[in-house]
């Protein structure tokens, strides 16, 4: 099971606003290897949710999308809306940050899982409901048959996210996008949900795009990581390499800002100084230069994604950073 399930190339999303066009994604590229998890990391507003909605085809009509999205070799970005719709839930599935509000309060958990099966696989009501119960069992919901008849308000947050996962995976999609799936949950439940995703992914060969801002989750659950900053890819590569030898000053800052249990007590958490640039009027060249301690003249030109070896790329003119750090 190798190869690339999803290949995003030069994806650009522009929203028409009253202040003029707002380019929230500026030519991002990344791939999802089959059966692997790629984490999409960055601060709020960096474009990671927009990227996932663009892949799903769920952006509002006011968003102009360019670039290509290849799903198992098939270009889907240009497909008519009706064809895109048929892919959703069948080949591309998504779970969201807020399990409390992402399920419809008016329908039972079983109904909501069965709905996708009836739509995409044409199952009749009874068969779909049995399949839904089996799916709820697969996501480790105890007494699945009874829970299937319950409404969302009768389920806990973790249970609801399991229902969301069951719904998303019911039709065995090729790609699952998980948009901060555990942010709203208790820490103990977070770990359970993420392990469940790992396990299900292993069983079905589904490629997972895990959107998060938690680098601890990235380290434990992702194979590759894409770090985004202000609508562009700052750095991407295998998780072990990016986290141990980050090549973009922004990633270095993010890692410094991540709390560590094994760090010395009482040390102040490092933070990334400054604020995210206004996307309506982004700085010329490198978008991180306004906050970057390593800024030099060349940073006024847009950096390409430099290859720093072993599938690791960084959009920084100063990469590799080790030389500067040693000199300092």
């Amino acid at each position: 099971m190798s190869g690339t399930t999803l290949e995003v190339l030069d994806l650009t999303v522009t929203f028409a606003t009253e202040r003029g066009p707002l380019r929230v994604l500026d030519g991002i590229s990344f791939g999802l290897p089959t059966g692997r998890t790629v984490a999409l990391v960055g601060e709020s507003g960096c474009g990671k949710s927009v990227a996932s909605l663009a892949v799903m085809g769920l952006l509002p009509p006011s968003a102009a999308v360019t670039g290509t999205i290849g799903l198992e070799g098939r270009e889907i970005a240009e497909l008519p809306p009706e064809e895109r719709r048929k892919l959703r839930g069948a080949e591309l599935a998504m779970i969201f940050q807020e399990p409390m509000t992402s399920l419809n309060p008016a329908f039972t958990a079983g109904d909501q899982v069965a709905e996708a099966l009836r739509l995409h696989q044409g199952l009749d009501r009874g068969t779909a409901m049995r399949a839904a119960v089996a799916m709820l069992e697969a996501v480790r919901i105890p007494e699945a048959a009874r829970r299937a008849r319950q409404y969302p308000h009768q389920l806990s947050g973790g249970m609801r996210q399991r229902v969301m996962i069951a719904m998303a995976l019911a039709c065995r999609p090729r790609v699952l996008i998980a948009d901060e799936p555990t942010t709203a949950l208790d820490v103990t439940v977070q770990a359970q949900i993420l392990s469940l995703l790992d396990e299900l992914r292993g069983g079905t060969g589904t490629a997972v795009l895990l959107i998060t801002h938690d680098l601890g989750i990235v380290a434990d659950h992702a194979d590759e990581v894409v770090v985004m900053y202000a609508g562009r890819v700052a750095e991407r590569g295998p998780v072990a390499r990016v986290l141990s030898t980050p090549q973009h000053p922004y990633t270095v800052g993010l890692l410094g800002a991540a709390p560590r249990l094994d760090g010395p007590r009482g040390t102040r958490l490092a933070t990334v100084e400054g604020t995210v640039p206004d996307l309506a009027d982004p700085p010329e060249g490198c978008r991180f230069k306004t906050r970057c301690p390593f800024r030099i003249a060349i940073c006024d030109t847009k950096p390409p994604l430099y290859d720093v070896g072993a599938g690791h790329r960084a959009a920084c003119h100063r990469a590799p950073l080790e030389q500067i750090l040693e000199a300092a």
Binding site: R88, S102, N104, A106, E115, Y151, H153
Partner: protein, 315 residues
Amino acid sequence: MWGWLLRRLGQIIPTLLILSILIFALQQLMPGDPAIIMAGEERGDPQVLAEIRAELMLDRPIWEQYLAWLWRLLHGDLGFSWRIRQPVGSLILEKLPVTLQLGLMAFAIAVAIGVPAGIVSAAYRDRPADWAANAIALAGISTPNFWMGIMFILLFSVQLGWLPPSGYVPLTEDWRQSLATTIMPAFVLGGSIAGVFMRHTRAAMIGALEQDYVRTARAKGLPERVVVTRHALRNALVPVVTLGTIELGRLLAGAVLTEQIFSIPGFGKLIVDAVFNRDYPVVQGVVVVTALIFVTLSLIGDILYMAINPRLRAA
């Protein structure tokens, strides 16, 4: 659930009691002496007036009058009309089918036009279909019923000669004629309420369409039609049901102006005649029956909420 229903029914009793006191107290404020009106030609004779007052208990304290009225009411006796010397109960039973028919027809028209228009309007928000629906709704809400009624009569009765301009034929007598006499007033009444339904449905649908579960439904690949009519509509219905019970209650309380224009002998005409003639028992009777209709409709509304929204069933 059953406990809730019992408690809910229990609330109705004090509600109606307070209402009955209000009805009784307020009409004491109406100007004019019923005894003088009833005495007619003999209004100058103090003997006659005193006799009438004694007969109607008008010479007793108000609380005593109230208790006597309440006592009879509890026994199903709404009293006699002072003016036409008929039991109030049978007067109401005579008018009730008329008002029921007209009100239900108007309600059906309002819902059939207003709710789908609101759904379409929300689904095509800020596009031509939405603008058109809003413009028509505003026109419907702001056009006075009496004017609309007159225009209808001029067009469909006078010009085209399709429908009788006024009068009423009971359903049991001739259902075709009955529908012919009520369709215009029902459209006049329903048309103006349709705009209200449209506005409320639109607002509730826009709110529902912005919810996370609608995004989930779209992520599942459901066609937009299913997203709108199944996932969003179900959750948008609660405020629309609330509005529905209120509007239906108002329709069943009688439509004074519209009944007047089309000469429909319904509740509206009954209560107006009674008020002008200081016919207190009829006024009281009509208001009590109307209140009962409102209370029942609000109970039905609450039960409908629970059918729509499973979260409320737990309470």
